[in-house]
Symmetry: C2
Subunit: 412 residues, 2 copies
Amino acid sequence: MSKTSLKHKVAIIGSGNWGSTIGKIVAENAKEHKKLFETTIVMWAFEEDVDVPNDPGLWEKLGAGPVKLSHAINTVHQNIKYLPGVRLPDNLVANSNLQDTVKDATILVFNLPHQFLSMTLSQINGYHRPYARGISCIKGVDVADGTVTLYSEMVMEKLQIYCCALSGANIAPEVVAEKFCETTIGYDSPPMDYKERDGSPRDNRVKVDEQRQSNSKPTHIKLSPIPKEYPPVESSLLKTLFERPYFQVHVVRDVAGVALGGALKNIIALAAGFVTGKKWGENTKAAIVRIGVLEMVEFGRTWFSKSVDERTFTEESAGMADLIASCNAGRNYRSALRSVEKGVPIEEIEETELGGQKLQGISTARAVHEFLSKEGKLDKFPLFASVYEIIENHQSVEKLPSLLRKDPKAQN
Amino acid sequence: MSKTSLKHKVAIIGSGNWGSTIGKIVAENAKEHKKLFETTIVMWAFEEDVDVPNDPGLWEKLGAGPVKLSHAINTVHQNIKYLPGVRLPDNLVANSNLQDTVKDATILVFNLPHQFLSMTLSQINGYHRPYARGISCIKGVDVADGTVTLYSEMVMEKLQIYCCALSGANIAPEVVAEKFCETTIGYDSPPMDYKERDGSPRDNRVKVDEQRQSNSKPTHIKLSPIPKEYPPVESSLLKTLFERPYFQVHVVRDVAGVALGGALKNIIALAAGFVTGKKWGENTKAAIVRIGVLEMVEFGRTWFSKSVDERTFTEESAGMADLIASCNAGRNYRSALRSVEKGVPIEEIEETELGGQKLQGISTARAVHEFLSKEGKLDKFPLFASVYEIIENHQSVEKLPSLLRKDPKAQN
């Protein structure tokens, strides 16, 4: 690696609590690996006026009135709106100009609310380097319009660059507080960056959703090779960029599995919340998690066929660990629990108690139900199907155990 | 099955809370499947004097003074000591005479505290039918004398009968309250009960610990075939005997994995308790569970070689589900949490707060450490090794994350 003359310039797209947390991690690593990365990490901050917390130190530097978020980050090295109280590294620099943020970057880290991704990509397109590489830290998958799209695929299609995915049991405030955790990077090493061993150029097309069985036609994109003056972007470089002593990275080849885990877990967390609300205890909740993992595996197989590795769900942080954390403390879990305690539909909790935030479990359960029913495969997914029935008020929570008895594995 | 003229007689050996719970399940099923099973289920109760709870209904029938446990069960159909308040089926009959309980039984269900198994088997030996079949519901494995012995193996060796195992996320009071849960039966269909398809008799020897790699010599036992007047004992019969609407049974062929899961989870639950005590949050705990499952898989492979199926740990109730329940609410988890909160060694909690009960996690961690260090394989088990170091006060809980960074999978 030491023969290369250029360094990677990393840009973070997004500066919410998870974006700022990943920004902190990447900035810490850039400082420690000066041969591989430019030290300054630019983080795009959607420009908004934010209130200054009631802290004399902050008031002294920022004044008392509302300030621009990027100005605050660069002045006091704190994201005073989304991660108040956390000191960010000096080499993490906020920029409110999106095109300016991406224009020299060779590695783009996408970490913004999923609903803004598509529009943001349109604004980036044409301003980014054609040989840049992307990594999506956005949880879950896009389930609009009757199809499942990975956010990494969306990046690939819109920007014509390779993009991989990062996901895991990573509640942002705990990560930023440097409490030990793990994450998974799904990286399927596109066959394009460098030459074959015999020196011949590799086929540099990547089939987007190569193994996809249903609904969408495979799209081929032609990737531009990274100039050889840069250190190669491969799994070890990604590990160096993201791993910290408190944030252990495991790289797998299964991008779809990594992304799917972060979406499907929310359906299961709703079921776990219903069960805890009913005071059915730890045995029942553990059964829900177990059945949920197996339905994740089955869904991965049904939807993405060969490209999904079931061990992503049963063994990785992006699978079972993220699921466990979500079923113990996630927003979907807590809201479902509350809906049972109050005896109201879950959508009422969503509307009245979440300050405008949406429950991913509800939209994912509906989308998954739509696909499965179109494919005639609902009977293989009793848990996903039951959660849908409960959300739609076709079944009461009371019925959940009897609906689960359709579990094909339990039938022997 | 309807051609058979005799019915199975099922005996439960043990009448604690889990024994009585399984007794209730088996008695319910015997009543529903009169062609397969004798309706009366005899449950051996270790004879002890028990106090009658302060309940006028009970006092009227039992008197106010201490009574024999078996007399109480048969008079008021309640285990007033170990499951007070739960109505047991009328066809579950307690018997304080062990030899009398087993003498006509064709299926023996072992469900007593593990430390009494060996002695109890000695008392049974010679009084049981030679063709009886056993199932052990005793959690975990025996780790005495530098070797791992499954309780099912202990039954096989001492009584020269086939024995399988049942384990899962099955906290007894929740099961007896008929809250939905799952369990796993490990049954490796010994090649002896009936003839080959061509009519020739099968080899009816079963190798005890056939695949065991270390420490003990394989023992061969010669099983007696079950008279053909009885319904065959096979996985479907076991499912019929144990499955209830609230207690879903999945049968796998991996007896060792089913038993090991119930032992190793206790080490991991200690780590989860330390983490929660430190307030390191849900990410860290989920990481502990994930690493723990992988160490279970590795331990199974190391110790039992080919006979262990890793999916028992990653997909079954006896594996990951039981682990999750234990890491959310088990005794080992709660005690480890308390030791951190109070800033005292875990053994002090064991001695002062558990009313004489022992923490299985401590003895299992020590035994597992002894095996692994003898085999030179400790470095493949950073979590098991760290828990041992913390228990022995060689390391502080504070060091747990750095000790875990040895996780070989995280190293890529």
